[in-house]
Amino acid sequence: MFDNLSDRLKTVTERMRGRGRLTEDNITDAVRDVRRALLEADVALPVVRGFVDRVRERAVGAEVTRSLSPGQAFIKVIHDELAGVLGAGATGFELRHQPPVVILLAGLQGAGKTTTAGKLALYLKERAGRSVMLASLDTRRPAAILQLQQLAERVGAVWHPSTADDAPLDIARAAVDAARRSQAGVLVLDTAGRTRLDEELLAELKVLHTEIQPQETLFVVDSMAGQDAVNVAAAFGETLPLTGVILTKADGDARGGAALSVKTVTGQPILFLGTGEELSGLEVFHPERMASRILGMGDVLSLVEEVEQKVDRKQAEKLARKVQKGKGFDLEDLRDQLEQMMNLGGLESLLDKLPLPGGVNSNQLAGQVDDKSLRRQVALINSMTPRERRFPKIINGSRKRRIAAGAGVAVPEVNRLLKQHTQMQKMMKRMSKGGMKRALRGLPGLPGR
């Protein structure tokens, strides 16, 4: 049901074809579909309204450039607007303060605060080389303190002990002192979950913030959150001067419209995505990927667009169709794709556009293929007969030797290429069935859960 937006938009935008401009008239249907898609993705209604109005305004009269059809131009407007809103202000942490840099986490019950505290500790330790102290102010939920303590041990963070009988503010003060004394670079404070209606507990947070003055105050929110996320974000935003948002459980299949709601309401950047229960499941937030996810159209569309601008359009459409269908992806297509990758400035920028699954970073993937090997692979394919390119199965030992000799490389290179092609074929198939995530799970060298 969710993957239909791109299809639906395609039919709607088909009708726009042949017109040089987007008008109030020819975008009406498309706008309605976008509204629907956003609501299905759990973007809060008031936010949907504002967003759709802005898109309409931006789209109407927008020049349709040579390389894009009006329909594509419209999709681009939506996508850009969405990615723009989601990405605005994203800068990451400022860790250059006088240590300890104090990070306060807050949010609803079960949002993922405690797990995120553990993940941040690991992240800051590994990526930023900071020593991190963890402390729990959750004196309410059974075993909440112990939960964080176990995570601290697991990631090798310094643990500041507390008990359910302590007052959260006292714990926080003591933790800041301890962090200062032990010269910890960062102190992460976990708090108890609370609803937006719990005035007492919100007031407690406010006092905590005033007294501790953390450098970062992060709102932790579940990416599956529904319409009320907008009210929750408003309540936390009014209580605390938030500095950022962390979106958890993004390894699920929710479209994650709450990201847009929360971003719009708090105005604070979404810094990280939680992408798994394991403590390594924390990733820097990519607005482009999130935009595509909310709209439910993978990144195929934006890929097509960019490819179109740089290479032959017919070829791009053919590729996009094949990518979507997962059928008949032969070695000629692989060559086209390799050539396009080179045109696009290498694999890395291409991978940046794919909504990668949890734990996979594009550098890791790109590391497997550099541009020189791209060129070699193209040479290999060029050295094949058209029939071999179309039916790679017929490539036997003697053909391999001939192909390798033609390209001036050794036979194992041919094997590697063929293997890679088979994998890509599989990936395309899976992509069409289960989306990008499942597709990428099969690639070698990638951590799976």
Binding site: R36, L39, E40, A41, D42, A44, L45, L108, Q109, G110, A111, G112, G118, R140, R141, P142, A143, A144, L146, Q147, L148, Q149, Q150, L151, R154, T195, R196, L197, D222, M224, A225, G226, Q227, D228, A229, N231, V232, K249, D251, G252, D253, A254, R255, G257, A258, E277, R449
Partner: protein, 322 residues
């Protein structure tokens, strides 16, 4: 067979002198402004403009587009050609339509005391409130005179076992647990045996949170169900999904996928004290033939009520407690 509902209701009504827990539910849910219908409906037909206003309110309650359409169609049908007298009339109409859609699903959990143990397996996505719901169920069942045991089937999350043990202590019921990382199916099987040996009436089995798109974890759950049925083929007798009301349309895919995996027999919705309306249950009612059991309205042992279609519908429609 005893109905938990009836006995529990009388307990609680004694504690809360005025109006009982439906009132409290409505109060709690209304703190989030109910549906907050902005008014001025009097004298109007259920025209496009009014329909849009209603749709807005329904969507904001997480009812979803399709269910919202169906609700509006049903309201139109009920209203016929009549004009609207008052805002209250619109609300009452909305409540009636919602209650009609939910009523068949309001089937309270009943414990078959001949099972010994009657096994209740609690499943759901991460953080939905499974462990807390077990703590609340333990309290309720114990208050009703059943002997209860708990099984610490979440061997994955940090301190999940200790969290359940804390609930066991609070309620003074025994907890069967193994070490972290143990096979959850084995833990639950052992607990079934222990409960049988002790002649416990009910065994409440916790499981680790899992997102429904993780095939491996869903398969693990299927295995838990299979193994739990070794001693008594009818076990687990209740396979209860815990849904968090603060989540949106993804709850539908949660219910569908968990149902596909284990065949749910009940759904409990938590965190209705938080301001979210849980309208997704209206959408679910049309899609799944699974009873709605309880609603969670707080973090304490007593903060759980039996699902009541009329009360839920009234709260959704923003009708003040009667």
């Amino acid at each position: 067979m005893f109905s938990i509902t009836m006995r529990a209701m009388s307990d609680r009504d004694e504690q809360k002198p005025r109006g009982g827990f439906f009132k409290r539910l409505r109060e709690r849910m209304n703190r989030g402004r109910g549906l907050g219908l902005t008014l001025g409906f009097a004298g109007r037909k259920l025209d496009d403009e009014l329909a849009e206003e209603l749709e807005t309110q329904l969507l904001m309650a997480d009812v979803g587009l399709d269910a919202a359409d169906r609700i509006l169609a049903a309201m139109r049908k009920k209203l016929g050609k009549a004009a609207i007298d008052s805002d209250d009339q619109v609300r009452a109409l909305l409540r009636d339509v919602l209650a009609d859609m939910l009523r068949d699903h309001a089937q309270p959990l009943t414990v078959d005391t001949s099972a010994r143990p009657y096994v209740i397996l609690v499943v759901g996505v991460n953080g939905s409130g499974k462990t807390t719901t077990i703590g609340k169920l333990a309290r309720r069942l114990k208050d009703q005179g059943y002997s209860v045991m708990l099984a610490a089937g979440d061997t994955y999350r940090a301190a999940a076992i200790e969290q359940l043990q804390a609930w066991g202590e609070r309620n003074d019921v025994p907890v069967v647990a193994q070490q972290p990382g143990a096979d959850p199916a084995a833990v639950i099987y052992d607990a079934c045996e222990a409960a049988r040996a002790r002649g416990a009436d009910v065994l409440l089995a916790d499981t680790a949170g899992r997102l429904q798109n993780k095939a491996g974890l869903m398969a693990e759950l299927e295995k838990v169900v299979r193994i739990a049925g070794k001693l008594d083929p009818a076990a687990p007798h209740e396979k209860m999904l815990v849904l968090d009301s603060s989540l949106g349309q993804n709850a539908i895919s949660q219910a569908v996928e968990f149902h596909n995996a284990v065949g749910l027999t009940g759904i409990t919705m938590t965190k209705l004290d938080g301001g979210a309306k849980g309208g997704v249950l209206v959408a679910l009612a049309a899609q799944l033939d699974v009873p709605f059991r309880f609603i969670g309205v707080g973090e304490q042992a007593e903060d759980m009520d039996v699902f009541d279609a009329d009360a839920f519908a009234a709260a959704l429609a923003g009708i003040e407690s009667a």
